[in-house]
Amino acid sequence: MAEILNNSGLFFALLGAAFATFLAGIGSAIGVGKAGVAAAGVLSEQPDLFGKVLIFQLLPATQGIYGLLVGFLILSNVGLLGGGVEEISLLKGSLYFAASLPIAFAGYFSAVHQSKCSVAGIGTVVKKPDQMGKALILPAMVETYAILALLISILAVNGIHGIQV
């Protein structure tokens, strides 16, 4: 029983990596898809706006990258990338899992909501192309919360690596 519990630490660490990549990735996929639909609508009327609407479509893509980054860090810390898998206690594995949660959830929700803001921004650019800068700042504000979550996840993953539990 004790052996099973000791080995399950790796499982939870891996679950954390998967969670960060999976949830933030889903959020980005939904967000990029939604903004892409609006961009396609605009391009059917005004193809010369491609460059501008593409930027709006890509804004919600970053959360997926943040999730991937945290996933990589966890995998690297537990030795899954280098080939030398460490023995991870259940507590340490659970801590890695907990560390992945900020970017998993904040990544998912911020990507979905950023896409709504991006769609509205696309509408603004269609009507007033000269307001591109202002229209871009508004969805970019949503990014702040994904970055804060990324920061906490990275700090936590790095901190956990150094502790002996």
Binding site: A40, V42, E45, K116, V119, G123, K127
Partner: protein, 326 residues
């Protein structure tokens, strides 16, 4: 129960509409059209704005092309067109009146149909002619039976109109309440309430009996139909006094001027209510607002063109022109 499309499903359509809104005529554009020397000058200005298809057309052809463009665009952009039935069903009820009258008078309906209806009018006509009421959609079946039997028994065209018009109002009201969208509910409510107000005023002017007025009006949320009917029996002033106690008090002045002034008030009110949809990135609201704006625009251009053809003064038309959406 019909599954309603999710709000996000209109993202593509709304994005296209954002561009289309930039091409709508503004109040300033209407002023230029109004100031144009003659019909040719108006047509030239409209062609410069992208109206028509680069060929020379008569005014009514140009308007028909633009109307077709509108509905083609809506059909391309909205997956489930039945969501917009509330904007079109009154055309079906008009076509039903045409069919009933033509069948009972043994005349041809050619040129009398209104296009852009939910149902194909020819199909409607064939079903009615062969008395196959089952072929008709649910909302037309009962009014069709009732109107046919009324006109065959009494030869009273007005009674036939009354039955079909009331069924139309009741169905539009039902569509407004079936949908949880505020814009659709508001449009349907205004459709029924303005029809009731027009019935009340016309009935007051022609001294109709209470029973007739009650049979003509349909219930709605913003008017007490019984009070309005009683006021209509009393006379025009009583109708205006009653309306002064409702949320249509702002329309009383317009009603005092003429029925067309009241219609303008209704269109302007609807435009004002729809204006916030210009900033809505999702949902059916911006689509409905755009369709209504485009229809108002066509109405305004039709007015200007007929004014130029009939040499009416600029001021006569100006007071009838609706406020524009942009």
């Amino acid at each position: 129960m019909k599954k309603k499309p999710k709000q996000q499903e209109y993202t593509y359509a709304v994005a296209r509409i954002r561009f289309k809104e930039t091409k709508l005529l503004s109040d300033a554009d209407l002023a230029s059209l109004l100031a144009a020397k003659d019909t040719d000058a108006v047509m030239r200005l409209l062609r410069d704005k992208g109206w028509g298809d680069n060929a020379d057309h008569r005014p009514e052809e140009l308007l028909a092309i633009e109307e077709k463009k509108l509905w083609d665009f809506v059909a391309e952009s909205v997956d489930d067109l039945s969501t917009l039935n509330f904007l079109l069903v009154h055309h079906d009820f008009h076509n039903l009146k045409v069919a009933v009258k033509c069948i009972t008078r043994d005349s041809k309906p050619d040129g009398l149909w209104i296009g852009n209806a939910v149902e194909d009018p020819e199909k409607l006509y064939r079903a009615l002619k062969s008395r196959e009421y089952g072929e008709l959609p649910d909302y037309l079946r009962e009014p069709a039976k009732e109107a046919m039997s009324a006109i065959l028994q009494t030869s009273d065209g007005q009674l036939c109109d009354l039955i079909i018009d009331k069924a139309c109002m009741e169905y539009v009201y039902h569509l407004g309440h079936e949908d949880d969208n505020e814009i659709i509910r508001l449009y349907c409510e205004l459709f029924v309430a303005s029809s009731d107000i027009k019935i009340a005023l016309r009935s007051a002017r022609t001294h109709k009996k209470l029973d007739f007025i009650r049979r003509s009006m349909a219930a709605c949320d913003t008017l007490d139909v019984e009070k309005l009917s009683l006021a209509a029996v009393e006379g025009e002033d009583a109708v205006l006094t009653y309306l002064g106690t409702t949320e249509y008090r702002a329309a009383v002045d317009a009603l005092g001027v003429s029925m067309s002034a009241f219609e303008k008030w209704c269109d302007d009110y609807l435009t004002a209510v729809m204006k916030p949809q210009k900033w809505e990135p999702f949902g059916i609201g911006p689509i409905v607002a755009y369709i209504i704006a485009r229809q108002n625009e066509l109405k305004a251009v039709r007015m200007i063109l007929s004014a130029k053809v009939n040499n009416l003064s600029e001021s006569t038309i100006k007071e009838r022109l609706r406020s524009m959406y942009v």
